[in-house]
Amino acid sequence: MEKTVNQKAWFLVLPVLLLVAFSAVIPLMTVVNYSVQDSFGNNQFFWWGIGWFEELLHSDRMWSALWRQLAFSAIILAIEVPLGVFVALNMPKKGFWASFCLVLMSLPLLIPWNVVGTIWQIFGRVDIGLLGYTLAALGIDYNYTQDAVDAWITVIVMDVWHWTSLVALLGYAGLQSIPDAYYQAAKIDQASRWKVFRYIELPKMMGVLMIAILLRFMDSFMIYTEPFVVTGGGPGNATTFLSIDLVKMALGQFDLGPAAAFSLMYFLVILLISWVFYTVMTNLEKREG
């Protein structure tokens, strides 16, 4: 029997399309519109062409925020992915302890961003925080409000604490899907632990790991609340990431034009990197399937 092609089901997508238009597409168009104008408030706008883009492309402020952001994302990915895989490999496979570990691992994921920020803000304080106080008692000069390196370490450790579980859980799900026969075959071949990991576990985890990397990259690239609560972007500008800078510009200074141009470039970078990840991911799946 010949299959009839009927594309009418696409009309069912219309409500979503309408919703997305109002919640994402039109606001984004407004941002593009603001980026070529200047405003002195009172909803009066003046044409300013590509002036803001030109100014931002030559501003140290944006470039340093971008480098800080890239460095932050690179560092947390370099820590969280191997650590998450390591945790996933060492989690119990079944029984009570497997469930126990799963619950334990998912706890940090359930805590809202600003609460995580507050936890670490207090945890790291030298006067009342457990971490800060202990470090001070050990004679280590640690102060995240004064020292840029300490601030960076705090923000990174916080992110690792918050999100490594995500990588671990996804990796764990990938591992669970490997049939026992694979391990038995490896045992017969007397494959070493490393080889089992390299040729069985890692390839089978690749798909979910790519998703984990993509999620972690996008989230860390857009991170705002946690570093804002802990360091407020300080000391100085040491932990002022892109979104913190953007909010300062858009809401603090109310410079709508430059902020719009800034967010567009921010958006383009995210779009590019996400597209690369997505393409790599789908191609991996096609090659496997």
Partner: protein, 90 residues
Amino acid sequence: MEWMAWTWPTAAFFGVIAILLITFTVLAIRFPETPRTGILQIETTRGDRLFITLLGSAFINLAWLGLVGENQPYALIVCFVYAAAVFRWV
């Protein structure tokens, strides 16, 4: 729409993108195609190539603005060359 401060250049910009999207939708319906693998070693359809073109063009324009800094319209020529290359080889 006065309060949203729309301008003609932004309207033209989105108009062009809308026309492109509609054209490619019509093309996809009238002349269905199979994806092909180009120099990037990835499968692409016409729509994918349009996306790569538009995204790349944004970066070409920004690069021109940051590195050359004048005669911005000439960046469009680079974009058209880039678009032709993408549709030919990617």
